[in-house]
């Protein structure tokens, strides 16, 4: 089992703790760290330094912090696949329009939306892009 480091913002603490318990139950050694606000890249780099080979990083943060941590993690030797994004229940998500590629902000995953750019009727899917920090919206014909 890999060593797991969970980094969570205070507002997502509940989600982070839930993840910690689940991972513990499956036998992993788990660390959870609460992030100060605003997040300081140097502090993150220090936190990620000298983590055991094979450590998996799980993030419970908003988009901007996530980007900053990803960069710090890459500098510390974590590859893209060593960093996972925890599912956060904010109620609204970014939806990527599969037709015009516009990202629609503040949409629900439960309801279909109309793309603000091309007017396409979109069905949000659970296909998440960490690059765009958005879920793919399929066209409803």
């Amino acid at each position: 089992m890999r060593h797991i480091l969970i980094l969570t913002e205070v507002r997502f603490k509940k989600d982070g703790l839930k993840e910690k318990e689940l991972r513990k139950e499956s036998g992993s050694s788990v660390e959870l760290k609460l992030l100060d606000s605003p997040v300081d890249r140097k502090k993150i780099e220090q936190m990620l330094k000298d983590k055991p080979l094979g450590t998996m990083l799980i993030l419970y943060t908003g988009g901007a912090t996530r980007k900053l941590i990803r960069h710090a993690a890459n500098s510390a030797g974590f590859s893209h696949e060593d960093v996972r994004i925890g599912k956060i229940y904010t109620g609204t998500y970014r939806i990527f329009c599969s037709q015009c590629h516009r990202i629609n902000g503040k949409a629900s995953l439960e309801k279909s939306i109309i793309c603000i750019s091309c007017g396409q009727h979109l069905e949000p899917s659970d296909h998440y892009s960490s690059f765009h920090d958005a879920y793919l919206g399929y066209p409803i014909l």
Partner: protein, 313 residues
């Protein structure tokens, strides 16, 4: 795809009592460049033999340098090179190939070598030193006298190298310790005899290091069949049937009946000689195919059929 070059033996030097360094060059063509960890294939009368290049790829002066340990008489590749090849001789050499590259994403490279397994690391260390990257070497040998490149390593990488000349048990314990407590950003490379590789690989599993951080180059196939049995092969497209004898590889048998399956490493590493399985059970001995791929494919250089198999050829 590697192609053959006609090169001249420029220099032969003694590295140890049993290891010689051969320098090949050409006055006519610029030799293709290569990456650290690459090898060349020598076309010898007894077949093709692969040897790691030991030169610094960034300081290559139209030369390929290899080091060969004599482990056979002149009927084998290493014995032939030691006994029958001299300065000024011409030799056919395939252009370099690399199945053991450095991982560019690594922040720190850790090399574990035993015996002649040092060769790819000589090139890698020179390369990393030139570009200013972090590395360390752990090198086991039976003694200083038998330790190839000992002086070279002491001169060029003294603070980054640890030698292990002690007794076997102590050596294993110390090498295992050197493998422990590694941190993210580290990539580990192993090269040496199978027993050495297996001990360190097993320990890396005990330490729960993910496989993607461990890289190995073997002198022999990952799995060796102790008592190979003959088997029958049916080629479904060309409609040929033949037997592979106990002393023959499937690759050789295919070549004998005129089926030109391409190949490179002949050690189950590169995947060049892969063929599709139509039907039958196979003893897989390669380190290339995934478990899923092994269901429908096999590498003809090392893997064998059981009883009767059908291939999509």
């Amino acid at each position: 795809m590697a192609y053959a070059l006609q090169l001249t033996v420029k220099k032969i030097e003694n590295e140890t009592d049993t290891i010689k360094r051969f320098t090949f060059t050409s006055d006519e063509i610029p030799l293709p460049s290569f990456g650290a960890g690459a090898h060349v294939t020598l076309h010898l009368p007894m077949g093709r033999r692969q040897y790691s290049l030991v030169n610094n790829p960034l300081e290559m002066k139209n030369e390929y340098v290899i080091a060969v340990k004599k482990i056979s008489d002149h009927n084998g590749g290493s014995g032939y090179l030691h006994e029958c090849i001299g300065q000024g001789d011409n030799i056919s050499v395939s252009s370099p190939d690399n199945f053991f590259p450095l991982r560019t994403e690594a922040k720190h490279h850790v090399f574990f070598a035993a015996g002649i397994g040092i060769t790819p690391f000589v090139s890698m260390m020179a390369y990393l030193k030139t570009i200013g990257r972090s590395f360390e070497l752990h090198y086991a040998a039976s003694g200083e006298r038998e330790c190839a490149f000992h002086g070279h390593i002491q001169t060029h990488f003294p603070s980054k190298s640890t030698f292990y000349f002690m007794k076997r048990e102590e050596k294993i314990a110390k090498l295992k310790k050197a493998l422990q407590n590694r941190t993210m950003g580290t990539h580990i490379y192993l090269c040496g005899p199978p027993a050495f590789m297996d001990i360190l690989l097993e320990h890396s599993h005990e330490l729960r290091y993910p496989e993607k951080f461990i890289h190995e180059e073997r002198f022999q196939p990952e799995v060796r069949i102790e008592n190979p049995q003959p088997f029958f092969v049916n080629l479904v497209k060309t409609k040929k049937t033949f037997m592979v004898s106990s002393g023959q590889t499937l690759l050789n048998a295919l070549h004998e009946i005129g089926i030109d399956v391409p190949y490179t490493c002949r050690m189950g590493v590169c995947g060049t000689c892969e063929v599709g399985i139509e039907e039958g059970d196979v003893l897989h001995c390669d380190s290339f195919l995934t478990e899923e791929e092994k269901v429908g494919k096999m590498l003809t250089c090392v893997s064998r059929g059981i009883g009767h198999i059908k291939l999509r050829l």
